[in-house]
Structure formats: C-alpha cells, structure tokens
C-alpha cells in the first residue's frame, strides 16, 4: 500500500539520514560519470566532457535539493530547523521572548481556564452509559405553583412521580431523585453531608456498577421501606472510612436513625447534577422516616421535591415521548390533585402539562446561575488575548524593520519569499506554542482557584476539571490563532523587501515609514479601543457589586448569628412547643453580651419563604383577583434584633399568645398596595392558606420595607404574625441573636444553653452576614475577573502606545532637530509628539465607546442598580484611560524635547 511505503521511506529518510544522503550522492555521481563517459565517446576531451556533463546537470546540490523536497520528511526537517533557528533568536533576545511568552501564557491561560469551567458546566455530558439517551420529565412552562417545595429542583410531587412511572411509555427506564442534606452526627451539633433521595431505578437506569457491595435496586424502594439500606459515594468512602473494604454492612446514622450501608459507587460517578456531588444515596421510601411525620414530603400531594429523568426507548425521540406525556397529563393531574387546594389553585394545577426535555448534560442549577457570566468572561478574556497579540505584532513589526537586511540577503541568495515567511511563521509558532503550553499549565491552577472561590460551606461545589479533548483542542486552536494573529502581518511586511534596495550601504529601507507605521498605528488604536471596553466592563461589574453589597436591606446585617435549635427528637406535643421555644429564647437572651434575640421561622435572605392569599374584610368569600403577600412568623423583639424601624403602632408582645385575638404587622409596601390608607393600624383582614381561611387578623404595627429572600428583589408586601399564634407550632426554634461578643464564645454559649435545656437537640448555626456574602459570590467573581482583565488590558495597551510613540519620535528625529534649530521650544516639541498620541487616543476611544456599548448590552441582565449604558461609567473609564495613556506618551515626548539638535540633525 503506497501510503505505508511513503511513510516508511519517509521515516527512513528522517532517521537514517546519512545513509539516504549517501545513496543519493552515489546515484547522482554515477549518473554524472556515465554522462561524462558518453560525452567522451562522442569525441570530447576529458575536461570538455566534464564541463558539459556538469552544465547539463545544473549543479549537483541543486538537484539534491529538488530530490529532497519531493519527499514529505524534508518539510518536517525544515520546520524543525526553523524552530531551532527561532529558538536561538529567542535566546538572544530574552527580554522580548520573556515578555511575549508571558503575555501569551496569561492570555491563553485565562481563556483556557474559563473554557474549562464552561466545558464542565455546559458542554460535558454525564459520565454514564449513553448520556444522549437521557431526558428529564417535568411540567412544561409551570408558571407559579402552590404547596410546599424543598430542595434545589422541586419539579414533581411523589404522587405525580408514581403516576408518571406507571403511565409513561416513551422511556425504557425512569427514575426520580431529590438532592438534600443528611445530618450524620449521632447527637449534638449537626454534621451535614450532601445526599440524594433516589428511587429504586436510579442506578440501574444510569448503568452504574458498584465499586463495592451492591447498589440500590427497585426492591429497596418499596413503600414502607423494609430494608433501610443506603449507598455511599466513593469519595465519602475514602474520606470517612479510609477506603476500608469492610464498610459494607456497617451502620450509619441519618438524622439519628440507623441505616445500613449496602454498597459504594465507583469513583467517577458523582450523580446527575453538574457541579455537585453526593455522599449518601438513600431510597425515596425512607424519606418520611428521616424527615419525620410532620415534615415528610412523600405522603403529601402538595409537596414538590422530586426530579425525574429516564432513558428514551430505542426508536423514540424526545418529541414523541413528550407528546405521550402531554397526552396522559389531564388524567394524571386530576388523579393527583391535592385535596385542600382552593378553586384557583386547582384550576392552575389541572392545566399543567408534562413534557420530556434533553438531559445529556444532566440537570444543574449551577448552569443556570453561571452559564451566561462564564460566556461573558470568556469573551472578555478573548479580548485580552487579542490585545496581547496586537502588542506582540507591534513588537514583531519593529523587529521586522531591523531584520530587513537579513531578509534581503537571504532572498538574494535564492530563498523564495514564501520560504522566508514560513520561517518567520515558525518563529511565531514557537512563541505561541511555548505560550500555549505554559498557559495550559496556568489554566489548571486558575480554574481550580475559580471553582474554589465559588464553593462555600453551605453550597459546596464539585467540578470535575479534567482536561478532555475539547479543552485540549481549544488550547491548541488558540495557539494557532494567536500565531497567525500576531505573526502573519509582520512576516508579510518583513519579507516585502527588494533585496537590491535594502542591501545598499545606507540601508534605511524602502517602505520604512508610512505603510509600516500605519499598520502599527491601527494596532495601537484597536488596543486602546479594546482596553476601553474591558475597563468599562470592569467598572460596571465592580459598581454593580458595590451597589448590591450596600443596598439598603431594611435591617442591619452585621453582628447577627442565627442558631437553629431543633427539638423534634423530644417529641413534644403541639401545645408544649411554644412554651419550650419561649424558654430557649429567654435563656439565650440571658447570655452575657447578647443585645437582643428573637425567633423567626424563616431566615431573611436565605431564599426560603412562605406566601399566601390575603382576603379583605372580616367575612365573605375571597375576591376574584388574588392579593398575595409573603409571610414572616416571628416572636416579639424581631424588629429590634434586626434594627428594622417600627414606623407606626407597636411590635408583638407578651399578650399576643394562642387564644388571644390574632394580630399582624405589615410593611410599607403592603400598606401601600393593599390598605391604601396612611396608617394601616387597626385594619382587619384574613389569610387564605390552601382552601382554609384564617383570621380575622388585626394589624397592630407598620414597619419599614425590608428585603425578603434576595437582595436583588424589588419591594415585597410582607405580613408578620406571631409564632405564638401559629396553629401548628414548629418543633424547632430558629433564634436570631444580635451580639457583639466574639463568635466562638457566642456559639459555645448557645450550645451550652441548648445542652442545659435538653442534650437531645440538634443545633446548627448560620453567620448572617456570611450567608449574604455567599449569595454575592457570583457578582464578586465577575467584578474580580473583569477587574483583573481590565487592568491587564490597560497595561498592555499603554505599553503598546508607549512603544509606538517612541518609535515615532525615533523616526522623526531629523525633523525634530530641524525644528529645534529653527527655534522651536521644548514646549512645542512636546506638543508635537503629544498631538500624535492625542490622535491615536481619540480614534481609539471613540471606537472603544461604540464597542463598549455593544458589549455592555450583553451584560445588562447581570448588573444590579446600573443600566448597561451607564453614562457615568463610560465617562469615568474614558477619562482614566486617556489620562494614563497621555501620561505614558509624555515620557517619549519629554525625551524628544531634550534632544540635542545637532545630534538629531546628524542622525539620518
């Protein structure tokens, strides 16, 4: 087969070079001899024959060269020697080489790191069998829902899941799961691990094989859970049990209930959520046991907590499966309608339609939060890379003029222009290659740092940052692209010389000046434009972060510790819970250093919430249009603890207990929207939860607006009611504590208070302002990254500008000398130089503003408190860049004005 032969002989040419050359030499020499012999036979003398034969051959070396280029291995060899020549050049210009490689490594590294994250979050498919067959089953376009929801994805209720499992036809296997946390500590302070509730079909549908023992099967997920077996993940097994192979059969506590470990999952399996991992997987049927009768999600039709995924049947498409699910929807929702929904809620529920959606990349809340910011960051990083390449191109162009003589010489001895370009490109390729290699190394640490900065205690992330072929391909393409970007134009320019002209003694070069300088000008202008864009981006994100961090939340965030004391284990009857909680609160208040404390069911800004309909008047049916408010259930002193001002009326007090008239406090927005009077105090209203109407409540106080669930939200209508008047008091007390005491002291004091009351309670803590900061992580990341890119860009652009202005000064030395000798003062010389830089700046800034407007529109959804076309930011950025750039050009201008006119004139 010719291709093998070609390969073989080519390799022989590479590795046994001397032998092959010898053979070629021998062959040509033999030809020559025979030619000479022939010539002598036809009558020439020996010398004549020699001469004639040599002439006919045309030069043995030239022939050899032609023969060599007929094989592919020579091109490899020339590439190799070009690279070695380039390496020598770099060694003799270490500063240039260092600067070039560093800027390339930074640029390529930053891009690769972000792409690696994007790849993990968006592009990579799940590490399970045939991920492209996976789909998720959920309600299509569910606008609003009623009932309780828990967990990251509250797509389905258990009743719905059972129906779907029985009635669906399009999937060969279907499973449901719900991410959660388990408290695995036997008593006292909570130790939470990441966990998954899974249905029995989970592992077998995904095609996961156990690393040890066995995995959960459908038989383990029967109602009322006979087996109580759980599966642990490989990382948890290594972490907690040190990889001990006797772990199967051991007991593990979940919320103080013993479960048995039946197996371990393989190391590469982390679940079906991108960016998350799990430690324990437990069957769905065990949920009521673990969560307790009151909080259980499984038995109640109004509890949304599950996600369903499955494998398409062979021959079925996603659309076909979706259509089948839609068809069974009406009957399914009718069968699973929660009995206590009111008519409006029921109507919405019955209108739901199920559908199937592609899920080859799993499900991910991470993706939703981070995908667009990451794409934006990639765009910004690409801009930085372009700026760095422009700098490099500028540098190479400067060196191109210096190498004119060299190029001219080589062309004079016979090198083709293409050959020279190839060599120059090889030098650029060497730079790009080394830069890309270092950048790839840098990217690994960079992306790990990125993930680490996003992962928090309460929200741990796990991103498998392996370097797969996509990332490798990305890095290599970047290397080639940058090589072309910064190498091609200088290579073309450098070889655009006429040898006779450049080899003359007074070699000033032919096209030195106008056109080459024009290209460098264009490069600098584009650098300025791009860095302005990056600077605007950085300012926008930083200001957005600042606004978000300092937004008025309606309360004072610092100095608050939230302690959740869970006394479910005590099995207190409902009527004793309130007094027990009250006692805990009193004890906590007695801790020295505690300024104030209060109980609240929902922690503000935690993302949790409660919403119900408001029914006006003391009697009569609910109105047609629904008035919805969000709710806080609090104890007295809640507002004082948070330092939220009570504007009118009073706070709750000791008299607002079970049995007394129901009272409520509302915020300004509530009063504005629903009461429409100046002072809402005294108004009576009712609350409808599901189909039951509670009330009447009398409003006794008005408080300032506060944020409810998220710092970004617009003002919500909030209604507060006393925890003491709850019809179903909770079996835990979440106590907000305002104190200046050092945190460790405070925490241990609370723990001893809890212990003193009863040692069988679970206590967990949240540092309030820390929780809020973690919620700002994404914005902080954006601000930091864009700030870093902005600074880098300005640095590079300013270096570029400095270089071009210096070059301009050097070129016009003659002219400057003439001007000075004709009487021009220092000032006018400086003005002359600065005018040039002023021109470049103006054009660059104008283009930059247009570009910045375009780019910031893309980022509009990520900003808070700022419009994308914020004039203040644009002006600030422009001014900053202009000042820095002018300062940078001032130095060469100053140098120009200090020139000795005689010397300048002498310089040619």
């Amino acid at each position: 087969m010719p291709i093998w032969k070609n390969l073989f002989t080519g390799l022989r040419g590479l590795f046994r070079k001397r032998k092959v050359e010898q053979e070629l030499d021998e062959e040509l020499r033999d030809f020559l001899n025979k030619s000479i012999a022939e010539n002598m036979r036809s009558g020439m003398t020996r010398e004549e024959a020699h001469r004639a034969s040599r002439l006919e051959m045309g030069g043995v070396e030239a022939v050899k060269e032609n023969v060599r280029s007929a094989g592919w291995e020579t091109h490899l060899e020339t590439l190799w020697s070009d690279l070695r020549f380039g390496a020598r050049l770099l060694r003799f210009n270490p500063v240039f080489a260092g600067a070039a490689i560093l800027s390339l490594a930074l640029g390529i590294g930053a891009n690769t790191a972000i792409f690696q994250l994007l790849d993990a979050v968006r592009l990579r498919t799940l590490p399970v069998r045939n991920p492209q067959e996976l789909v998720s089953v959920r309600i299509d376009q569910r606008h609003g829902m009623s009932g309780r929801s828990r967990g990251r994805y509250s797509e389905l209720t258990y009743a719905m899941w059972e129906q779907i499992r029985g009635q669906q036809r399009g999937l060969s296997g279907i499973f449901a799961f719900s991410p959660t946390e388990f408290n695995v500590s036997p008593s006292g302070e909570i130790h939470n691990v990441q966990a998954l509730w899974v249905s029995g079909e989970f592992f077998e549908t995904l095609g996961v094989e156990p690393a040890l023992g066995r995995l959960l099967a459908p038989a383990d997920d029967k109602p009322s859970c006979a087996s109580s077996g759980i599966v642990i993940s490989n990382s948890f097994w290594q972490h907690e049990y040190g990889g001990d192979r006797t772990v199967v059969g051991r007991s593990l506590n979940i919320n103080r209930r013993p479960f048995q470990i039946i197996g371990v999952t393989p190391p590469e399996f982390y679940g079906v959520e991108m960016g998350r991992y799990f430690d324990i997987a437990a069957p769905l049927c065990a949920e009521p046991v673990v969560d307790g009768a009151e909080d259980a999600m499984l038995p109640r039709r109004d509890s949304w907590w599950l996600v369903a995924m499955g494998r398409l049947n062979p021959g079925w498409t996603t659309e076909r499966a979706s259509a089948q699910l839609r068809a069974i929807s009406p009957g399914l929702f009718e069968a699973t309608l929660p009995p206590d929904f009111n008519p409006a809620q029921a109507k919405r529920y019955l209108a739901y339609r199920l559908g199937a959606f592609p899920a080859d990349t799993g499900v991910s809340d991470l993706r939703a939060d981070y995908e667009s910011p990451l794409w934006l960051m990639l765009g910004l990083a690409a801009l930085v890379l372009i700026i760095a390449s422009a700098n490099l191109a500028n540098l190479l162009l400067a060196r191109a003029s210096a190498r004119e003589k060299e190029m001219g010489m080589r062309m004079a001895v016979g090198a083709s222009r293409w050959r020279l370009i190839r060599q120059l490109l090889a030098e650029s390729l060497l730079l790009a290659g080394i830069g890309a290699f270092l950048g790839a190394l840098l990217a690994r640490s960079l992306s790990q740092v990125l993930v680490a900065s996003l992962s928090t205690q309460s929200n741990p992330l796990f991103v498998d940052l392996g370097t797969d072929w996509r990332v490798l391909g990305f890095t290599i393409s970047l290397a080639f692209l940058t090589c072309i970007l910064f190498g091609l134009a200088p290579a073309l320019r450098a070889t655009n010389v006429t040898p006779s002209l450049v080899l003359k003694e007074s070699g000033r070069g032919t096209t030195d000046g106008r056109s080459r300088f024009g290209l460098r000008r264009i490069l600098v202008v584009s650098q300025i434009a791009l860095s302005l864009t990056l600077l605007v981006g950085a300012l926008l994100f930083s200001r957005s972060l600042g606004k978000l961090a300092t937004v008025d939340a309606g309360f004072q965030r610092d100095g608050i510790l939230a302690a959740d004391i869970d006394f479910t284990a005590l099995n207190l009857p409902l009527d004793q819970r309130i007094s027990f909680a009250r006692e805990l609160l009193d004890r906590v208040r007695a801790i020295p250093g505690v300024d104030s404390a209060a109980i609240t069911r929902i922690l503000p800004l935690s993302g949790n919430g409660e919403a119900h309909d408001i029914v006006f008047g003391v009697s009569g049916p609910p109105q047609e249009e629904s008035a919805v408010a969000v709710f806080h259930r609090v104890s007295p002193a809640f507002f004082r603890t948070l330092r939220t001002p009570v504007i009118a009326g009073r706070d709750f007090d000791e008299h607002d207990v079970a049995g007394s008239p129901l009272v409520a406090i509302v915020n300004e927005s509530f009063a504005r929207k629903f009461i429409k009077k100046g002072n809402p105090v005294g108004t009576l209203l009712r609350v409808r939860r599901m189909s039951t109407i509670f009330g009447p409540y009398q409003i006794v106080g008005l408080v300032k607006d506060t944020k409810y669930a998220d710092l970004r939200e617009t003002a919500q209508e909030i209604m507060y009611t006393p925890v003491a008047q709850l019809d179903r008091p909770d079996a835990d007390a979440q106590i907000l504590i305002r104190s200046n005491a050092p945190l460790p002291v405070l925490i241990s004091s609370v723990k001893s208070v809890a212990n003193g009351a009863n040692p069988n309670m679970d206590v967990s803590f949240v540092v309030f302002h820390q929780m809020i900061e973690e919620g700002l992580l994404r914005d902080r990341l954006m601000a930091r990254l864009s700030g870093f890119f902005g600074i880098l860009a300005i640095l590079l652009a300013v270096i570029g500008l400095y270089g071009v202005i210096s070059y301009m000064v050097a070129r016009r030395r003659n002219e400057i000398g003439i001007r000075m000798s004709l009487g021009a003062g220092r000032r006018s010389i400086i003005a002359l130089v600065l005018r040039e830089s002023f021109w470049l700046l103006s054009i660059g800034l104008t283009v930059g503003i247009v570009l910045a407007l375009a780019v910031s529109s893309a980022a509009a959804s990520l900003l808070f408190g700022l419009k994308a076309h914020d004039a203040e930011t644009l002006i600030t950025a422009t001014v900053i860049l202009a000042v820095i750039a002018l300062a940078a050009s001032y130095i060469p201008a100053l140098r120009a004005s200090k020139l000795d006119p005689l010397e300048a004139l002498r310089h040619e």
Binding site: M1, D30, S35, V63
Partner: protein
C-alpha cells in the same frame, strides 16, 4: 542545447518514465538515454527534473528500486515498475490517447 524538459508537464514526464521502465528495469542514466532515444532526440530530460520524479513515483508506490552493479562495474540504483505502476501506465496511456484524439479532431475540423 535544447533543454525541452522545461516544456514537459510533470504528469507527462511521469508517464514517459513509466513507459521506459515497462520493458526492463533501468538506472537513472539509462532512463534518461532511453527517453532521448525513443523520442528521437525531441525530449532531453535533465537530471534536475528526472531524479525528483523518481523519488515521487517511488513514494507513490509506482516504482520499486534496488541496488545492482551496472556496466561500469559500479553500484547503481535500478528502478522497476510495480504492479500499481503498470496499472497506472495503462490508464495514463489510455487517457493520453483519448486527449490526443480529441485535439487532433479539433485541429482537423478548424478551417
């Protein structure tokens, strides 16, 4: 010296080499002489084009080579046709005859 090898297109040179080797294996000088002989002196291919062509054809799998002693008792590289080479020669010849016939027709009918 009529160096008409410059007017020989690469493909035609390849075909001539293949044809010359159709009878028996030859070394480089022998091929160059044979082409000159058979074309009655019209084509004199210089070594600068011949030897690269040899390597190209060898790489394409159309020629085999081996070292033998030649007439002047020295080692020389002898080239011979492979089976693929013979096939290529057949198809090239057919194509060439087709083209020549077409050109001849055009030239004849032009008034």
């Amino acid at each position: 010296m009529t160096d008409t090898s410059a007017t020989l297109v690469q493909g035609t040179l390849d075909m001539l080499i293949l044809k010359t080797l159709a009878l028996e294996p030859l070394h480089g000088w022998g091929i160059s002489q044979r082409i000159q002989q058979l074309s009655h002196g019209v084509f004199e291919v210089n070594p600068g084009s011949l030897f690269p062509a040899f390597r190209r054809l060898e790489r394409a799998g159309l020629l085999d080579c081996e070292w033998r002693t030649s007439e002047n008792n020295r080692r020389a590289k002898y080239y011979s046709l492979t089976k693929a080479g013979r096939q290529k020669l057949r198809s090239e010849t057919k194509e060439w005859e087709r083209q020549v016939a077409a050109i001849a027709r055009i030239l004849q009918t032009a008034s």
